[in-house]
Every structure is written in structure tokens, then in C-alpha cells.
């Protein structure tokens, strides 16, 4: 169950509408006018492009996030990237004008860069932009290790330059100093940028307003070419406690003319898989568009945005997003107001702010933390959370929760295995108090089990 993406499921189960829609799109493809594109020769269709003010790169507004490639069981029983499908997805993306691919050395248990590299290296190097990161956020940040990581990335992508290089997930100047300044790594990276081997240097950000201000203040010194931020219609004004509202982040970047790359436009699928009531509101306003398309249109509407990343696991995600962005139909002010109202409504549900990024993993005690949290969210969305033993629906909801829980998470990886050691807490970019949430879920389950 854990491998079945909710979005995918909704689509498979939900509807002919999409199938018809995307089929129509695909067949309509050939009939569309071929547009000029100086970087690639093979792109057809009308993907919206944004221009990088520094390099003049024409970047597709849809960026491919390479954190969620499909996995299959390898020979030794471990999960390995399904390279064949990745190749197909990359080919399809390039054919339809997607030219930005965002990876990191730590993604997919270290397999993302090489898998993406294999798929991309089958195409001319000038037909796509590579973005990857210096992920030295675990352990001691030594200069040599950082340089090694950078060189490994070049090797994995079989190239001698990286288009967009990010300092991975920094939240404040203190973190920046510890990981990049004190050990001299930033000087090395600046030299690489000077030499043209890093064409754009930026950072990705999760954290507080103060932290962001500190990093913005460093702009004069380091000249950030771009910044990757979390922006979506929920976080625009309703970011979770220790994160910063995207409206603020975007305004600060706009002020300085720094282009932004958007991550988590869909909150790991949470803005596609919403409670029924919220889904109805979105569908009412746009019956033909997918629920996910609202999130992508929202992120793309902001003109300071260079592109919007989406971790598309399957071809249907990719097709839907291509459809949304070919071309982008910006949201109107009315739409924006409507989404803000919807965001207020959505934030009243007791959902856990987990985007299934798996940074918390592996848990040393074997828990499958994201699956436990995502399963809980799914049950919130489907209305299975029921505390009232007297309620008529209680037995049904109880059964649904317990059975689907066992399906979603293997027994020995469930919430009752949590030792509350706290190792995961600092890894979560959303700053979720994971042990507390796990404990809350475990208590709820225990209560369900004790009643009959």
C-alpha cells in the first residue's frame, strides 16, 4: 500500500474524466503548432517557459523533481529505482518541453542522481538543465566531503557542469556558517561558479522568517542566483508553526529580483488528496481540471517564479502537469481569493503536515514514519477518524482504520514500535514533532483496539 501514491489511486479509481482528458491531450499534441526552442530540437507543444534573468536560460515552468522516482524490488529484496520507467518518463517529459531536472545526492537512498543521470545522458546535454544539491546536512560538514559530493554529482550526471547548484536545506545564517562558511566550502563553490562549472548557485530553504532574512542579507556578498522555497496555496498564508509564509518569502525574493524555484507546490500530494468537502469546492469551480492542477496553477501564477517542481512518479502525474502548464492559465484575483478561503478551511482539519519526503528515514528502530503519518491523513480525509464509541458509524470506521493501517504499514513498522528516541525530529524539514504525532496516533489505535 505504501507504494501506491494516493494521487495515482484517485486517478485510477476515480475517473474516466482524466483518462479522456489526457488522451485528448496526447492526440491533440501533434496538431499543435511547433514552437521555437533554441535549446532543444525535439520539443513540441506549448509549454510555458520562464527566462532566467542572469543566464537567459529558457526554463520550462514545470520542473521534474527527482525525489519520487518509481521503485521496484531489486534482486536482494531492497528497493531500487525502476530505471526503465524513469527513462520513459524522462523521454516523455523532454518531448513535451520539460527541461529542468532537480535531484540531490541523498534522494531515494542515494539512487536519484545516478538514475536521473542515466536517463538524461541519453539526450544531448544542451537539451536540459540539471539541478542538484550539496546535501551535507547530516553529520560533520567537512570541506573535503563536500567537494567529493559535488564531484560525485558531476560524475553521476556524466557532465562537467551543473546548471543549478543548491546548498541543500539551510534555515539560518548559523546553519549556513556551520556547513558552508566555516569550512570554506562556499569559497570553493564561488570559484566553481566563476569557472562556469556551476552556472547558477542558490540554496533551498525551510525555516523561520528571521532565518530567511539573515540569508537574504548575505545576498550582497554571495549573489544568490536563485532560491528554492516551499510555496503553495496552503503555505501562502498558513505555513505551519516553524515555517514561513510563502507570501513573505516570494515578496522578499521579488524585491531583490532573485528568481525562485518552487518545491512542495502540492505538499507531497496533500493538496491533491484533500477532504471530500474541500475537493467538492475545488471541483465545483473547475469541474474539468484535476485537484492537483489548482496547486500548479497557483504556484505558476507568481511571475517571480522560474519554475515549479513536481515529483512525478508515474506517467499520469506527468501528463496531467504538462496539461496544466501547456500553456499555464494564470489564476485570476478571484481564484486567489477563493483559494485563500479554501486554505483557511483546509487548515481546520487535523492533518499532519507531512509531505512524504522521507528525510526522517531510515528510523533506526524500523518504523515507516511517513507511511504512518500519511495513512492517518488519508483517514482524516476520508472521514474515518471517529472517537465516539456510541456513534452509529464507529464500528465501521474502526474496522476501516485498523484494516487499512495493517495494509499501509507492516506490523513491525507501526507506531507502537516508536522508542521516542527523537533522532527524526531534527531531520524533518517541516519541523513536525514526529514522536509526539506517532504517540498520538498510537494512542488512538490502542483505543480502537480496546473497544469492540
Amino acid at each position: 500500500m505504501k507504494n501506491i501514491d494516493r494521487r495515482e489511486f484517485i486517478r485510477v479509481a476515480g475517473g474516466t474524466a482524466l483518462t479522456i482528458g489526457s488522451a485528448g491531450f496526447l492526440s491533440g499534441c501533434t496538431g499543435r503548432k511547433k514552437t521555437d526552442n533554441d535549446d532543444t530540437g525535439s520539443v513540441t507543444g506549448t509549454m510555458t517557459y520562464r527566462t532566467n534573468p542572469k543566464t537567459g536560460d529558457k526554463v520550462s515552468i514545470l520542473g521534474y523533481g527527482c525525489m519520487r522516482w518509481p521503485m521496484i524490488k531489486g534482486e536482494d529484496g531492497k528497493d531500487v529505482v525502476d530505471q526503465e520507467t524513469v527513462n520513459r518518463l524522462v523521454d516523455h517529459a523532454l518531448e513535451n518541453g520539460v527541461n529542468y531536472f532537480d535531484s540531490a545526492p541523498v534522494y531515494l537512498h542515494g539512487q536519484s542522481e545516478s538514475a536521473t543521470g542515466i536517463a538524461l545522458s541519453r539526450h544531448p546535454r544542451n537539451s536540459y538543465f540539471i539541478a542538484t544539491k550539496l546535501s551535507n546536512h547530516r553529520g560533520v560538514a567537512r570541506k573535503e566531503d563536500g567537494i567529493n559530493m559535488y564531484r560525485n554529482s558531476l560524475e553521476a550526471f556524466r557532465t562537467d557542469y551543473i546548471d543549478y547548484y543548491l546548498l541543500h536545506s539551510i534555515s539560518s545564517e548559523a546553519v549556513f556558517n556551520r556547513r558552508f562558511k566555516d569550512n570554506g566550502l562556499i569559497d570553493f563553490l564561488m570559484e566553481e561558479r566563476e569557472a562556469g562549472r556551476i552556472r547558477n548557485l542558490g540554496f533551498s530553504f525551510h525555516g523561520s522568517k528571521e532565518g530567511f532574512d539573515e540569508l537574504m542579507a548575505l545576498h550582497d556578498k554571495y549573489h544568490w542566483d536563485f532560491v528554492q522555497i516551499q510555496l503553495n496555496w496552503l503555505d501562502w498564508n498558513h505555513a505551519s508553526k516553524r515555517n514561513t509564509n510563502a507570501s513573505y518569502l516570494q515578496a522578499e525574493l521579488d524585491k531583490r529580483g532573485i528568481p525562485s524555484i518552487i518545491m512542495e507546490p502540492l505538499l507531497g500530494g496533500r493538496l491533491a488528496d484533500v477532504p471530500d468537502h474541500v475537493a467538492d469546492l475545488l471541483k465545483e469551480r473547475n469541474p474539468q481540471g484535476s485537484i492537483a492542477s489548482w496547486a500548479f496553477r497557483f504556484a505558476g501564477t507568481h511571475t517571480g517564479v522560474l519554475n515549479v517542481l513536481s515529483g512525478m512518479t508515474c506517467i499520469e502525474h506527468l501528463q496531467d502537469n504538462i496539461k496544466t502548464y501547456s500553456p499555464l492559465k494564470p489564476l485570476t484575483d478571484d481564484d486567489m481569493t477563493f483559494l485563500e478561503k479554501t486554505a483557511v478551511l483546509l487548515s481546520t482539519y487535523p492533518l499532519i503536515q507531512c509531505n512524504d519526503c522521507k528525510y526522517c528515514m531510515p528510523c533506526p528502530y524500523g518504523l515507516d514514519i511517513p507511511s504512518i503519518l500519511m495513512h492517518y491523513n488519508k483517514c482524516v480525509n476520508e472521514g474515518f477518524i471517529n472517537d465516539d464509541e456510541e456513534d452509529d458509524e464507529y464500528r465501521k470506521d474502526r474496522r476501516a482504520y485498523l484494516i487499512s493501517y495493517d495494509r499501509a504499514v507492516p506490523k513491525l513498522r507501526q507506531a507502537d514500535r516508536c522508542a521516542a528516541c527523537g533522532i527524526c525530529v531534527n531531520r524533518c524539514p517541516q519541523h513536525i514533532n514526529i514522536p509526539a504525532e506517532i504517540r498520538r496516533i498510537d494512542r488512538y489505535i490502542e483505543k480502537l483496539k480496546r473497544s469492540r
Partner: protein
């Protein structure tokens, strides 16, 4: 007609009792649990005088109908024998009279009783009919049922339905599995060739009831005036007890199946009232067509149940493993067993409690002196406070009924902490998972270093509160051995 009634009743009993062993949800027992409790040997061991009396009276009235209807092992043999009979008409009439081997029957019975009395309990119950069937059903049939269920659960999952949920199929004890398989093969061969040989030579219950049925009020008899000596009834008799030369039926071996009555075209074989001149009205001879029998033919199967393969390992997930089974000096038996002694004295190792345990706690013992008798282990689950299923289903008085409220005050064992294994010490992290899950609040986390206000905390046990449920042992993350395990009490205590 009589035969039809017998077959319908037998089919109903057989299916229902088998379902008791297959139904892992425990919901059938509320309705059908009594079927296990009217089994002869469990009723004797439970000192259930009412049931024993009824069975004795039933036998004195109609002969060994118990063996033909109530006993699942008997019915299973009938099914096997019937299948053989269906292969060729000749095979339906493959039996012939043989004299009773009384010396064998009675010496086995005496040995059986001595075995029970002198503590060679697990040896004696090897031949107890109901529990032998229970072991076969729980070890051979249940895995097939569970795999089928899991297949439906697999489909249900894809249909997003909660109609089925998957259950864990695992080999609980290799010795018991082998014993069940061997028993099944032996019974199968005997029944395939000669019908009820087992029941009339080995089975202690058969011998006791056979002794009684000699005096039964109603019994099949041959009317010599009508009999044309065709011998069909004798060739059809799976108990080999019709002596055609003498026109005698050995009632100690007759299991009152009524096949002979059905076979005789002349109406010479009939159910007779034996304590008066007048014989019963003759049974009309119908039923040559299909039997009203919904026997599940696919019983002859051997399975190689293997323990579920090691838990899967995912790329982004740490390795996990089941905890190793700790060595317990005193075995753990469920609340309601009162004491180890009471438990071993009553248990017939029928595996009913093992089959219904939803938490995968109960499994047959592998140690020699308690072979096949259930014991508890907490590697896969723990004895959940809300569950009293085993005490509800036990037919033999080995586990007496307890209520949920009562269960929470029965102490079946005591948690023992081994701090060398505790991850607070080995990994230097906080944990306390045992304390968080203790339903009795018996696990107390105390400072490792009492002089340090912020010291990590280690688990200790309040002996007065611990009930031995095993929640702590089950959730303890230490591997391969948990840092906390339960030792059984020889005599259960009450808080």
C-alpha cells in the same frame, strides 16, 4: 431416511467444528462454541458431568451416534472412506466382517487412562479423537483457509474494500505440525482401506462408547425371515461389524451410520427396539440417488506451511526482525488456566485456543513433557487486555472462562528487565516504549543516574502490578533479545 438424517447432522457438525478451527476472527465461537464443549474427552476432563451424562444416555439409547455425527475425526474418516467408495462401485462394497480385537482396544484404553493419570499426558492425547482432529484442522486445513482468505484480502485491498483483511500464516510448532501430518496420513490410509479401523481398535472414546452401546435401546438388526443372504450390508459396513453367517451385528463396533439399513433391498435390516418383542417399523428403502452431502472433497492435501518469510526490507527502511524467543524457566499459560498443573491436567491439545488467538500469542509447546500443549510467546503480539477468546473456547476446563474485568487482575507472570539489552544503555537514547504500552502501569521509568536531574530513564517493574501480559516484551525495540521478558507463574495470582 435414518441415514440421510445422520449424514445431514454429521455434515453440519463437521463443517461447524472445522470452522471453529479455521475462523481466526473469533466471531463464530459465540454461536458454535458449544460444539467443542460437547466433545466427550474434553467434557470428561472439564468434569462437565451434564455433557458426559447426556452423551452416555444418547449412546445407551441409539448406540454410537456420537461417533457418526459429533466426532469430527469420525466424520472425516467417513468422508475419506466415501471418496474411495465413489471411485468404483466395487469399492463401495469393499468391506468384510472381521472379529473384534478386544484385547487391543481395552489395553489401549487402559494405557490411555494410565497415561493421563501418571502424567504422560502428551503421549496419551496423541490418540484422543477430537484433539487429533483439532491438530489436523489447525495445522493442515487452517493455513489453506488463511491463504485463501489472504487472497481475497489482496483482491479487497485493490478494490478498496474492507470486507477481508489479511492474516499472518505461520508455523507455530514444527513437532506439532509433524504429529498432525502423520496422524492425518495414518488415519487417511486406515479410512481409505478399511473405514473405521481406527475407531474400533485405537480410539479410547470409541472403546468406552462401544462398551456402552452394546446395551443400547435402539440398534440395527437383521430380520432373518426377510434376509436373502446377499451379504451386501456386510460388504457395505465400514465398521466391519456385520457377521453375515450369524446374522449378528457387533454393537460395540457399530457406529450407527445406518448404511446397512439403506443398503438392504429387502428391508431386512432395520432399527430395532431391543427390549421388547416388537420391532421398529421398517424403514422404507429409498435413497439410491445423490446424497445430501456437501462434503468438501478437497481434504486430501498435504501442506508445507512455512513460517512467513522474514519481514521485507526496504531501501529507505532500517532492517527489522522479530525478537528471538526468550528462554522461559516457567511456561506462560493464559489467564483462566489457574495454574500450570491445572492446565496440563485438563488440556487435550486440541489447538482450538491456538487457532482463535488473534494476537498470535498461543502456540503448541515443543518441549517433551508438554508436547503440543499450548504455551504463550510474545514475539508476534501480546495478550491484549480486551481479549478473552481462549478462555471462552476451551472445552476441557484447561482455560476457565474469565471476563475482561477479571483478566486485568490475574497475574500470569512477571516482567523481568535485562538492562544490558535495553537501548537506553546500548544506544544511549530515550525510550520508555515498554512503560508507554503497559496496561497495568507496572513498568516504571526511573532515572538511570539518580543524582542527575536530566538523566536518561531505565525501566523497572512494580512486581505487585505486573500481570504478565507481555506488552512490554512485544514492543521492546532491543534485538535480537528484548530487554524485557515475561517469566510465567506456576500458580496464577490475583491482584
Amino acid at each position: 431416511m435414518l441415514r440421510k438424517i445422520r449424514i445431514i447432522l454429521a455434515a453440519a457438525f463437521f463443517l461447524c467444528i472445522t470452522m471453529l478451527f479455521l475462523d481466526f476472527t473469533g466471531s463464530l465461537h459465540a454461536w458454535l462454541g458449544w460444539m467443542a464443549k460437547i466433545q466427550f474427552l474434553p467434557a470428561v476432563l472439564a468434569l462437565n458431568i451434564g455433557v458426559v451424562a447426556v452423551l452416555v444416555i444418547l449412546t445407551l439409547l441409539f448406540g454410537r451416534v456420537y461417533c457418526s455425527i459429533i466426532c469430527p475425526l469420525g466424520v472425516m474418516q467417513d468422508i475419506i472412506s466415501w471418496i474411495h467408495g465413489r471411485t468404483k462401485k466395487k469399492n463401495r462394497f469393499r468391506f468384510r466382517y472381521s472379529p473384534a480385537k478386544n484385547w487391543l482396544r481395552y489395553s489401549v484404553l487402559v494405557l490411555f487412562i494410565i497415561g493421563l493419570a501418571l502424567g504422560a499426558h502428551s503421549l496419551a492425547i496423541l490418540i484422543a479423537p477430537y484433539s487429533a482432529y483439532g491438530r489436523i484442522a489447525a495445522n493442515l486445513f487452517a493455513p489453506i483457509y488463511q491463504w485463501a482468505n489472504n487472497f481475497f484480502a489482496w483482491i479487497a485491498e485493490r478494490a478498496d474494500s474492507y470486507a477481508f483483511y489479511s492474516t499472518e500464516v505461520w508455523l507455530r510448532s514444527i513437532p506439532t505440525f509433524i504429529i498432525a501430518a502423520v496422524t492425518f496420513v495414518v488415519i487417511f490410509v486406515l479410512a481409505w482401506r478399511n473405514g473405521r479401523t481406527w475407531c474400533n481398535t485405537i480410539c479410547p472414546v470409541g472403546t468406552v462408547l462401544g462398551f456402552l452401546s452394546r446395551f443400547s435401546v435402539f440398534a440395527p438388526a437383521i430380520d432373518t425371515e426377510k434376509c436373502r443372504n446377499c451379504g451386501l450390508c456386510g460388504k457395505r459396513c465400514k465398521a466391519s461389524c456385520i457377521d453375515m453367517k450369524e446374522h449378528e451385528i457387533d454393537l460395540s463396533r457399530c457406529v450407527a451410520c445406518m448404511d446397512c439399513i439403506d443398503t438392504c433391498k429387502e428391508g431386512a435390516v432395520h432399527l430395532a427396539y431391543r427390549y421388547g418383542k416388537k420391532s421398529e417399523k421398517k424403514e422404507e428403502n429409498v435413497d439410491n440417488g445423490r446424497r445430501a452431502f456437501i462434503a468438501s472433497g478437497a481434504i486430501a492435501m498435504t501442506t508445507a506451511a512455512t513460517a512467513k518469510a522474514q519481514a521485507e526490507v526496504d531501501g529507505g527502511l532500517a532492517m527489522i526482525s522479530h525478537a528471538e524467543k526468550p528462554v522461559r524457566n516457567t511456561p506462560l499459560v493464559p489467564a483462566g488456566a489457574l495454574s500450570l498443573k491445572n492446565f496440563t491436567n485438563h488440556c487435550t491439545a486440541c489447538q482450538l485456543c491456538v487457532s482463535v488467538c488473534p494476537n498470535h500469542v498461543l502456540r503448541p509447546s515443543a518441549s517433551l513433557d508438554t508436547l503440543m500443549l499450548p504455551e504463550m510467546g510474545y514475539e508476534r503480539g501480546y495478550c491484549r487486555p480486551e481479549c478473552t477468546l481462549c478462555s471462552e473456547v476451551c472445552p476441557a476446563g484447561a482455560i476457565n472462562p474469565v471476563t475482561r474485568a477479571k483478566k486485568s487482575s490475574i497475574q500470569i507472570g512477571l516482567a523481568i528487565v535485562n538492562l544490558d539489552n535495553c537501548i537506553v544503555n546500548t544506544d544511549n537514547v530515550n525510550c520508555g516504549n515498554c512503560a508507554r504500552h503497559c496496561p497495568a502501569k507496572a513498568v516504571r521509568m526511573v532515572r538511570k543516574d539518580p543524582s542527575d536531574e536530566n538523566s536518561l530513564k531505565i525501566p523497572t517493574i512494580n512486581e505487585q502490578k505486573c500481570i504478565g501480559c507481555g506488552a512490554c516484551e512485544n514492543v521492546c525495540p532491543a534485538r535480537p533479545f528484548t530487554a524485557i521478558h515475561i517469566e510465567g507463574y506456576e500458580v496464577h495470582k490475583t491482584k
